[in-house]
């Protein structure tokens, strides 16, 4: 398999080239384009129940598709659901932990197991993660630019900004210290401890959702003085 990641970090896309017989596994929905030499089989990998468990635990339908090249060189374009960066991580029998939405694609030799990672820290908060293990190339993505951090001791990441990390790192969910303002008392942070690599993303989809939220229009009243004024009213009455 050969691959190239283009348009980093804002509009990343992975172009994959496969020789006949070679396969790649992707999150379903990731395929943007492919040539006629590619065959797709939607499968849940590991049997029906395994796929079902993933769907229930990660609160999203984590079904994987397997693509295989037949007869000639296969070309495949893979994109994530949100604009942002993609990282290719080479694995050699090793493991990597991903935030639940970060998985994009992987070589068939990599197993993915979704699980609820237990309650971490004092506040009864837990995270859904994807634990990957095996040999090959793993592609993960995030909304935002992805930067790699070499953790040596401990490091803090805002909840929602951690993309992936090596399992040698332990993490705890904590709150920021010295918070005087009640507005920020529920800002959750992740504290990673140990030695290992950590990938962080520079934007957070929930911040975007919170930003758009106040722009919703007020429910229009039942009595309306006329559709013409009502139309203008939508423009005037933005607040």
């Amino acid at each position: 398999m050969q691959y190239e990641i283009k348009s980093r970090p804002s509009y990343s896309v992975v172009e994959v080239q496969l020789e006949p017989g070679e396969q790649i596994v992707t999150e379903s929905g990731a395929m943007a384009w492919m040539n006629n030499n590619m065959r797709v089989s939607t499968s849940t990998r590991g049997g029906f129940f395994r796929g079902l468990k993933r769907k229930m635990l990660t609160k999203e339908s984590f079904f994987q598709n397997t693509y295989e090249a037949e007869s000639g060189t296969g070309l495949l374009g893979l994109v994530p659901g949100q604009p942002g960066d993609i990282v290719a991580y080479e694995m050699n029998g090793s493991e990597l932990v991903l935030e639940k939405n970060a998985y994009l694609a992987s070589s068939p030799g990599i197993e993915c197991d979704a699980k609820f990672d237990g309650f971490r820290g004092l506040f009864n908060e837990g995270m859904f993660v994807l634990r990957t293990k095996g040999t090959g190339t793993l592609f993960f993505n995030a909304y935002g630019d992805i930067e790699e951090v070499q953790v040596n001791g401990s490091y803090i990441v805002d909840n929602g900004h951690a993309v992936a990390w090596e399992p040698s790192l332990e993490y705890k969910i904590t709150k920021a210290r010295k918070i005087r303002s009640f507005l920020f008392s529920d800002q959750l942070l992740l504290r990673f401890e140990g030695q290992g690599k950590l990938w962080v993303q520079s934007r957070n989809p929930s911040s975007l959702a919170n930003w758009v939220y106040p722009f919703r229009l007020k429910q229009p009243k039942e009595k309306n003085s006329g559709s013409g004024i009502g139309g203008f009213g939508a423009r005037i009455g933005r607040n």
Partner: protein
């Protein structure tokens, strides 16, 4: 203090390296990563120069932009680092303030500043009630570096004479420039019908930073597509 801009493009972020004793100030909530030896102190650090008769503006500012600032310091003898990111897509610029003039920065554009800069919030009186816009500026004085973020691309323009700018596109400008709120068209009704918004008319000499896109316009384009609010 060392300031690095990472991920140039739509998803820029700032990585600031702090030495013990140094202090960085940022919009509260901009922090998204950092070394564990950095203390984050969130408070209403910014002061308002005008306090009377501005409760409506205050409510708007609190609703739209965080009025709160975070202060970062190392709590041990080691160097630390702080990563800051805006909420919107767009670029970050570092403005070197050499003290020869102050700067005015719109509330949503302020990201961070070094401790040699004093941050004061001042509210511009709202002259265009029809548009429902609020206009609040943060005034930055002293010496240091000011980090601003934009929705889209950041443009730097040297004004020498006059420049008219749609208010939604202003990021920051030197206070050597005179500014006046105005309307683009000849009457308020005409402005309203042509969807021309409130503009700022600048006069004099100075630098101005503009953003390529207007976040309010984008928000208003999405708002009608979402469920109504009660």
């Amino acid at each position: 203090m060392e300031i690095q801009i990472l991920g140039a493009g739509a998803f820029s972020s700032a990585l600031v390296k702090l030495k013990p004793g140094e202090q960085l100030v940022s919009e509260a909530g901009a922090f998204f990563r950092g070394s564990s030896n950095v203390d984050i102190d969130v408070s209403t650090y910014a002061k308002s120069k005008k306090s009377g008769g501005l409760s409506a503006g205050l409510k708007r500012a609190l609703a739209q932009e965080s009025f709160f600032l975070s202060k970062y310091t190392c709590n041990d003898a080691n160097d630390g680092e702080v990563g800051l990111a805006p909420k919107m897509q767009g670029e970050i610029a570092v403005i070197d303030c050499d003290g020869s003039s102050g700067w005015l920065c719109t509330g949503g554009s302020y990201l961070a500043s070094t401790s040699g800069l004093e941050i004061d919030t001042q509210f511009q009186g709202l002259k265009g009630f029809l548009t429902g816009e609020s206009l609040s500026f943060i005034s930055v004085t002293g010496q240091g570096q000011l980090l601003v973020n934009a929705f889209g691309h950041i443009n730097q323009i040297e004004v020498d004479g006059a420049l008219t700018v749609d208010t939604g596109h202003v990021v920051a400008f030197q206070d050597t420039l005179d500014y006046k709120l105005g309307k683009a068209a000849s009457s308020w009704l005409h402005s309203f019908l042509t969807s021309e918004r409130v503009v700022l008319k600048f006069k004099g000499t100075g630098k101005i930073y503009l953003q390529g896109y207007n976040p309010d316009e984008f928000g208003h384009s999405l708002g009608p597509l979402l469920p109504y609010r009660k």
